[in-house]
């Protein structure tokens, strides 16, 4: 039974890559974005991700008094190479302020492995879901807004991952 499933999946994957190669080989985008042929697809912005965004949040050691960890990775579309020194903006409705308020916003940079981690106040449910907002909008790559949702309002950390494509 398992082999049948695997065979089918392999078959679909092989068919998909043949199709993708064909499209990229014939299309102009294949010449402009050779990295995409390798497979790691760029992250799309999530709906509502840009809500209450404030341009140019400062890079901070931590937002407010902390107690909650927002972390994630930033990689390049196609080959998945980690992107160091990328500025990620983070904001949320927390115990210390509403989403739109300046003290709820901050930014951090990715390390050499493309990882980022910023301490912030505890996120609490707003508009029916406990969620955070993250943005990459430095211009070198296409802007991406994310809106991850916590599995439970009691959690004290949240992750979001970016795969960026050239702007």
């Amino acid at each position: 039974m398992t082999t049948v499933v695997l065979n089918r999946r392999n078959f679909l994957a092989a068919g998909g890559s043949v199709l993708a190669t064909g499209v990229l080989a014939t299309g102009v985008s294949g010449l402009l974005l050779p990295a995409r042929a390798e497979g790691l697809a760029p992250t799309d912005s999530m709906s509502g991700g840009a809500n209450n965004y404030r341009k140019g949040a400062a890079i901070v050691e931590r937002i407010g008094k902390g107690g909650f960890w927002m972390s994630g990775t930033v990689r390049r579309a196609g080959d998945g190479a980690p992107l160091a020194g990328q500025r990620i903006q983070i904001w949320a409705h927390t115990t210390e302020g509403q989403e739109h308020e300046p003290q709820s916003h901050g930014a951090t940079l990715t390390d050499k492995d493309g990882k980022f981690r910023l301490e912030m106040p505890q996120i609490i449910p707003i508009f029916g879901q406990p969620h955070g907002h993250l943005a990459y909008d430095s211009g070198e790559f296409k802007t991406v807004f994310l809106r991850p949702v916590m599995r439970s309002a009691k959690e004290t950390s949240l992750e979001a991952h970016f795969v960026l494509q050239p702007a």
Binding site: G48, N51, N52, T95, I126, G128, Q129, V149
Partner: protein, 206 residues
């Protein structure tokens, strides 16, 4: 016999009051209140009260509330329908003031939250019923035609409101919220089943 009837009447009214007031009281004690502004709190409670009004509506029109004549029940149903539309307006305007982009996303069906479309659809159904009810005489809608319009919209309102409410993670406590939603569904099913039975009786006797 009479004593039992008045006890029963009192029990029904007390049960209704508890079904609506207990969820509101527990929500008022939610720890989330500490981190919300007054407009957001008002908007949230307008939503909870609206759900309570959705429970009263089928009970009134079905004649299940003791001490109210059919005429009074219909009048009250009318007024509470207006109050429901007003509560929904306060809910939406309050949430719009709290976070305009989130409310605009919801109204445009572009929101990431799964409960939003249910709420927006229920809202339009409520506004439609309220408008038609206000214009019913002018439009010359007879009871039969009115029911053909109102009953499907009432089902949309009930199902939409219950789904909207259950999917939200907010100030309402889970068990009291689920109980209120179950009562709303039960009251709606009962009133529609009774209407159905009456119609079947009428057509068989005719």
């Amino acid at each position: 016999m009479k004593g039992w009837q008045s006890t029963r009447a009192t029990l029904i009214w007390v049960a209704l009051a508890l079904a609506i007031c207990v969820p509101i009281a527990i929500a008022a004690g939610s720890e989330l209140m500490a981190w919300r502004g007054p407009v957001y709190i008002l908007a949230g409670f307008a939503g909870i009260i609206a759900l309570g009004l959705v429970l009263i509506q089928p009970l009134l029109i079905g004649g299940y509330l003791p001490g109210l004549s059919a005429y009074r029940g219909r009048r009250a149903h009318h007024w509470i329908g207006g109050a429901l539309a007003l509560a929904v307006v306060i809910h939406v305007v309050g949430l719009w003031i709290t976070s305009p982009p989130d409310m605009i996303d919801a109204l445009l069906f572009a929101s990431p939250t799964p409960f939003s479309p249910f709420g927006v659809i229920a809202m339009w159904a409520i506004f439609t019923v309220a408008l038609l009810a206000a214009l019913r005489r002018r439009l010359g809608l007879r009871l039969r035609n009115w029911r053909i319009i109102h009953i499907p919209l009432a089902i949309v309102i009930v199902v939409g409101s219950v789904a909207h409410c259950l999917l939200i993670e907010g100030t309402m406590e889970t068990v009291s919220k689920a109980a209120l939603c179950a009562l709303v569904l039960a009251a709606t099913i009962k009133v529609i089943a009774d209407l159905w039975r009456k119609r079947a009786l009428r057509s068989s006797s005719a």
